[in-house]
Amino acid sequence: MNNVIKVRNITKVYHDTVVLESINLDVNSGEFLTLLGPSGCGKTTLLRLISGFEEPTAGSIMINGRDVKGLPPHLRDVNTVFQSYALFPHMTVYENIAFGLKCKKLPKTEIADRVQEALAMVRLEKLAGRRPAQLSGGQQQRVAIARAVVNKPLVLLLDEPLSALDYSLRKNMQIELKSLQRKLGITFILVTHDQEEALSMSDRVVIMDEGIIQQVGTPRQIYESPNSLHVAKFIGEANIFETEVLSVSENHLQLRIEGKIFTLSNKRGAKLGQSVYMLVRPEDLRAWDKSEIIDREDKDELIQATVEQVIYKGSTVDLILRTASGKRLSATEFFDEDDEDLDYKINETVWVEWMPGWEVILPYDE
């Protein structure tokens, strides 16, 4: 697989503030890559460096094997979809989409063909004569995408393109964007702070914070094996236990969690006496009530907790639990054949467990 974009040691400094520090990133041709992070983490700056609206303080960016240092945006084979869409208000949909091609001074017939093609792609043929103000948010979004892809860029850069849309429209646009990307075969780089959006659309996710890349991986890798506490906290919810490694054998280690000893596999080579975090996702926690646990021999090895809150969500039930030591846990229980009756009562005692191996053990952050 070839890399359409290679970012090497990029540093960006604004007025003595380091916004990006030694960023290295390879973007595969044809993939859907998401830059995810809280606001101010540098993700938009990285996008603007790639698009050419800003120049890096140090480092280089290669697009399609060519160093783009000093190249203006329109000579970079990339196009941007802006958060505000930035449609030209005085032009019709057709004129908006044709703008880039007109700037390139293409023959009129070719412009007409390509604009029609782009209009068809985003299903806006009937609205070609409208002004942006006469369109809904979702339609404006599609015009913005059509205006960018009509130029046939190698990479489409999307800066929080869905943040202005309401929830259900955003869901639809996520699916539409993803299928559009597959159809076009263009590399998409999307910037977002919405972790759900990142997980559901991307081939790979780049987690950024405070100007550095924290982790790069598929949504599943990021979610199931976060490499730092920060990533784990940023992506989804997690129950976090702080503890020490009691003993280490060949492939296993022992931890004391809430007064119980757990023997778990040592995937990351933790050492004896090392302080670690153990993370379990709420949906991996199982909470059993007394009648379900009574026959089990290993019930003393489970963590006991009382139910503080029960939040019914339709397909799931979210529980807020409190252990004997006062630790707050959250657990998400699914209605399935194992557990059809999710009838929890407040102040009821439950026994909590998780599938061994589904936990994540991370070293203490400095």
């Binding site: 698009s51 329109h74 505000s84 930035a86 030209f88 703008f99 880039g100 700037c103 960018a148």
Partner: protein, 254 residues
């Protein structure tokens, strides 16, 4: 009760606003040279007006000055407003402040300043000094009018245009100007009227070879208001109303 009160209040305001103008128009048709009384309708004064070739020359002078001054001022002011909005540069705040000072500065001060300047530069008063002065005092109004229109424009528009391959000239001519057309038209019309009826500044910067209408009317009024002047003012009023209507139509279309 309340309704009739508000209606009569409204009528009162309209009378105060428009009665003088109405009197002017009515008396331009009065068949008497001096009288303030009505002596029957006539078009005599209009006929005289259109046969007064001296007056026509003066009117054309005024139109030329106002047209040129408002056009040049709109162009310079447009560039200035776009620069103030789009770019960060040294002295931007100062320039912004100076523009507003120019608006509130008394015409008298400005007029004398122009006079001293032209005198110091040894430029004889006439067409060019008049034009320069009119362009100058129109520019701040243009800047403010267009700036109020352009403020709040999404700056991403310019980046989007650049991303699509537009250079600065295309961004200006295809994006900024078309978006600002209503503001540009408004600024031009404002400049035109400001220039067309300016007396104070023009008094200081005009010479004997180039008469303009406001100064001519002003000097004639000293000899007494004639029905011919009434007719002249009525024609100017008609022109102004037509221009305002055209402006309304242009703005509505956009």
């Amino acid at each position: 009760m309340n309704k009739s009160l508000s209606a009569s209040y409204l009528a009162f305001i309209y009378v105060i606003l428009y009665l003088p103008i109405l009197v002017l128009i009515v008396f331009s048709f009065n068949n008497s040279m001096f009288s303030g009384l009505w002596h029957g309708a006539t078009l005599k004064w209009y006929r005289e007006l259109f046969h007064d070739s001296g007056l026509q020359v003066i009117a054309i002078h005024s139109l030329i000055i106002s047209f040129l001054a408002s056009t040049v001022a709109t162009f310079i002011g447009l560039l200035g407003a776009v620069a103030l909005f789009k770019y960060q540069f040294f002295g931007k705040k100062l320039l912004n402040g100076v523009v507003f000072i120019m608006i509130v500065i008394p015409d008298l001060v400005l007029g004398i300043a122009f006079l001293i300047l032209f005198h110091a530069l040894n430029i004889s008063l006439g067409f060019w000094t008049l034009l320069l002065a009119h362009i100058t005092f129109c520019i701040p109004f243009v800047v403010v009018t267009i700036l109020s229109r352009i403020t709040g424009t999404d700056k991403n528009l310019f980046e989007a245009a650049k991303d699509l391959g537009a250079n600065d000239f295309i961004v200006f001519s295809k994006i900024i100007v078309p978006m600002l057309i209503p503001g540009i038209v408004a600024a031009w019309l404002l400049s035109f009227t400001l220039s067309f009826d300016d007396v104070v500044i023009s008094t200081f910067v005009s010479g004997p070879d180039f008469q303009i209408l406001p100064l001519y009317i002003f000097s004639q009024v000293k000899l007494g208001v004639t029905p011919e002047l009434n007719a002249l003012c009525s024609v100017i009023l008609l022109l102004t109303v037509v221009m305002a209507l055209i402006a309304q139509m242009v703005l509505k279309k956009k």
